[in-house]
Amino acid sequence: MANALVVGASSGIGRAIALKLSKNYQVFAMARREDRLKELKESGITPIPFDVTNLNDIEKTIKALSKEYGKFSTLIYSAGVQNIKPLRVNKISEVEYLYRVNTIAPLFFAKAFASKSVVDKDNYPSMLFISSIAGEKPEKGIVAYSASKASLNAMIKALAKEVAPVRVNGIAPGFLETEMTKEYEHIYNDEFIEQIKQSYPLGLGSVEDIAEVASFLVSSSAKYITGEIIRVDGGGAL
């Protein structure tokens, strides 16, 4: 089986993708929270505790994994943080952290993955980044988050040109109930979720909906798709 690295796999979309891919790949699940990663072991997934904000350690960690377990055909970056704050209450430290997780770390994961010593060129290699509809349809109150995802979207397209034949794609989910959004449950309350159900043509989605598309995009069935950011939002951004 080909090796796949899922970054941000301890919860939400990343966890769902790791579980979905574990049927066809040897999956390595990376996240900060070691206790949560261990739960994935019973699905044959190898936990790799790592904090993506340690930018200086990304390259050597990926290269060490490749040396120990073999090259990787697939990189999925699903780590992300949200920051619901109007411009006037944005703080430099919070915005820097947001960009570090949402934009800078994925760039250096891409750099490490694209290295000849890491990428498995014989197994339809590809990278997939989890973006957000906010990258395309920014909203007030999430200026920094929207900008970080728009930057990620531009990065996906530029990478697709630079690292071909390695494919690079993205998924832009709409609102989903995940641990990340639960941190803001005082905002994303029952009334908000009801509004989403009413305003999204296909209603509220699930992390498994994202995992299905992720599984397709990294498979050989998508071998002629690169530089695409696919909205999986039940029509919410229409």
């Binding site: 619901i84 704050k85 006037r88 209450v89 007030k140 109150g141 005082h186 905002i187 309350n189 009334e191």
Partner: protein
């Protein structure tokens, strides 16, 4: 934090130049809109107080915000 410091922090979160007091009616503050509410939520979050947008619908005056801050305000 004194009540005066709290009122100044509220005014800063709202980016409001109006002088606030407990009697100020929230709907009379131009900046008390959806972004203003989000800004206040963020400010209260920093104080360790979780408050939802629905809670703000019940607030009428700045005194309600003072009450929400509770013992975070001295005296």
């Amino acid at each position: 934090m004194t009540q005066q410091e709290f009122l100044e922090a509220i005014a800063e979160a709202l980016d409001c130049e109006m002088e606030l007091s407990g009697e100020t009616i929230l709907d009379d503050i131009d900046e008390y809109d959806s972004i203003g509410v989000l800004s206040l939520m963020s400010y209260f979050d920093e104080l360790g107080i979780k408050v939802s947008p629905n809670d703000f619908e019940k607030f009428e005056t700045v005194q309600d915000l003072i009450n929400l801050a509770g013992d975070k305000i001295d005296g």
